[in-house]
């Protein structure tokens, strides 16, 4: 407080300034987009599955927005690698804040969870669990 900013500890700023796995895939198994209209955050996530169609092999993301949303996408892209779709499905908000390593204030939670939501919705669309979802929105 007053000196530094807890929510923006080194890790988040680092991922924001040098995002990992940033870009778009040629031929993803599935892809999905999302936005957070009030922030203007946008995220696109491309996922490549293993041959077992269950394990996440590789993830890229692209997008624009606040540090929280973009760093969260960057960290998540690393974290998802090797995860099963079931494990992705089970990721909750606590997992994301733990991953970020900081306390996220209530009004910024929707920035933090946007990437996870996009990945989860993408997997659901891929499985046919939902239809007709053009774009994921985390606006509350």
């Amino acid at each position: 407080m007053g000196l530094g900013s807890d929510m923006y500890r080194q890790q988040i700023l680092d991922h924001y300034k040098s995002p990992r796995n940033y870009g778009e895939m040629e031929d993803p198994t599935f892809t999905h987009v999302g936005e957070n209209p009030s922030c203007g955050d946008t995220i696109k996530i491309d996922v490549q599955l293993d041959d077992d169609e269950e394990t996440i092999e590789y993830v890229t993301f692209s997008g624009d927005g606040c540090a929280i949303s973009q760093a969260s996408a960057s960290m998540l892209s690393e974290r998802l690698q090797g995860m099963s779709l079931d494990e992705l499905h089970d990721l909750d908000t606590d997992d994301i804040t733990e991953m970020l390593g900081v306390t996220i204030s209530p009004m910024r939670v929707k920035c933090a969870v946007l990437a996870r939501q996009v990945a989860q919705d993408g997997a659901k669309l891929y499985h046919g669990d939902v239809e007709d979802l053009d774009i994921t929105k985390t606006e509350d």
Binding site: G2, S5, S38, G40, S105
Partner: protein, 425 residues
């Protein structure tokens, strides 16, 4: 940065009337009010969103509930008479404050937004149709923009937007082009809550009247910050909110010229707004009660009266001078940095707010970091999304000032902005 500043108003003594200004922040945001871990003195620069509330206004609320709380108008008992007199006098007070003719022209609503919708529903739905146009501005607040846009969609009328120039001022040539004989309503914001532009609303009203159109002026940012004379402007409708001018939430004001309100159908139906009712049909009360259905905003009207007394004591000319002083100071301090973009007209020609962006720092991140430095500003689109699209920014940070703010507080803002800049460098 700031040396000993002299203000057009007695800021130090004004601050004493606002207990919240001594509160500290920094701790748990899910606990309402100051708590243990709140250690940093608050710098409140979000007055464009809502103003703080002085003891005089809160006392008026407490006095009402402890002294003469009752439903108004129809009651013969003493409490009801006291409340009725106070509630009706609140209309008179508002009328005098903006130079309306009297309480007939003053309708209490819930907020500016409802005032806008009242006219859109009671007049617009009836009057507008294909071939008609409503002319708004590119800098309208959603309260007016979305309302007229949707009413136009429902009625088949067309909505047109007066362009802004590079400095965020209305292009009055474009206005003269857009407003034509198809135009039934010109709806314009008096002071932009994003650009700080003070619009030539009198000229817009004249343009409207030349084409027999009505003019609705959104004074949500104007009435709190400068003297407003609805007759001099010649507005047909004029709206503002109590909560932005030291008053409580839950009250807005719709001013309308008496003969226009008289000719309009009612909006909300129910008690208090009728003259007589049978199972088959109803007739309506006189103005302004025709437009105030149900138990009205009694506490809020009485508190708004107290807020206006407070502002009038300071003098609205002085309030305006103070606003201008702070706006110019903030503009100068912030624009000294090359990576800062400020939206709207220059510092010496704007209302008391500055919306800006810092290169490489998203406005929401900026606001979060400023919050860590106890500086409260707003970040977002300030309910002017289309304008932000036009400005090419999804969001901006906005510092907005009021009678209790100082240049020292702006220095703290600038320091915190600098800290954010460093963090993101």
């Amino acid at each position: 940065m700031s040396t000993q500043q002299t203000y057009p108003i007695d800021v130090e003594s004004i601050r004493q009337d606002f207990p919240i200004l001594s509160r500290k922040v920094g701790g748990d945001v899910t606990v309402a009010g100051e708590s243990e871990n709140d250690t940093e003195p608050l710098v409140y620069l979000d007055n464009g969103a809502t103003s703080q509330t002085p003891t005089q206004v809160v006392d008026a609320i407490v006095d009402y509930y402890y002294g003469y709380n009752a439903n108004v108008h129809r009651g013969i008992h003493q409490l009801s008479q006291e409340a009725s007199v106070a509630y009706e006098e609140a209309h008179d007070r508002v009328a005098a404050f903006i130079n309306a003719n009297g309480r007939e022209e003053i309708v209490f609503t819930k907020n500016t937004t409802e005032a806008m919708n009242l006219v859109a529903y009671a007049w617009g739905l009836e009057a507008l149709g294909p071939g008609d146009s409503v002319v708004a501005t590119e800098m309208e607040h959603h309260a007016s923009l979305v309302t007229w846009q949707q009413i136009c969609k429902r009625t088949g009328a067309e909505i047109r937007y007066i362009q802004i120039d590079d400095e965020g001022r209305l292009d009055m040539d474009h206005a003269a082009e857009l407003i034509d004989d198809s135009t039934r309503m010109v709806s314009a914001v008096h002071v932009s809550n994003t650009l700080g532009t003070v619009n030539p609303v009198g000229d817009l009203c004249d343009l409207a009247h030349e084409h027999d159109a009505f003019a609705f002026i959104d004074g949500a940012q104007a009435v709190p910050t400068r003297p407003v004379d609805v007759k001099a402007i010649d507005a047909d409708f004029y709206a503002f909110s109590g909560h932005k001018m030291l008053g409580p939430t839950g009250i807005g004001v719709l001013y309308g010229k008496e003969e226009i309100l008289e000719a309009m159908n009612p909006y909300l139906y129910g008690g208090e707004m009728i003259r007589s009712v049978t199972y088959e049909d109803s007739t309506w009360e006189d103005l302004p009660w025709k437009f105030e259905a149900g138990t009205p905003v009694i506490e809020q009207g009485i508190a708004l009266h107290a807020a206006i007394d407070y502002l009038d004591d300071i003098g609205m000319e002085n309030v305006q001078k103070h606003e201008e002083l702070l706006a110019e100071y903030a503009y100068d301090e912030l624009s000294a940095y090359d990576d800062v973009t400020i939206y709207g007209p220059p510092g010496d020609d704007r209302g008391g707010l500055v919306a800006f962006n810092v290169d490489g720092v998203h406005a929401h991140d900026l606001s979060s970091i400023l919050n860590d430095y106890a500086v409260a500003i707003r970040a977002g689109d300030h309910c002017t999304q289309p304008l932000h699209d036009k400005l090419g920014a999804p969001a901006s940070a906005r510092a907005s000032f009021y009678i209790y703010n100082t240049t020292d507080e702006i220095d703290r803002l600038v320091e915190a902005v600098d800290a954010a800049r460093q963090l993101f460098a």
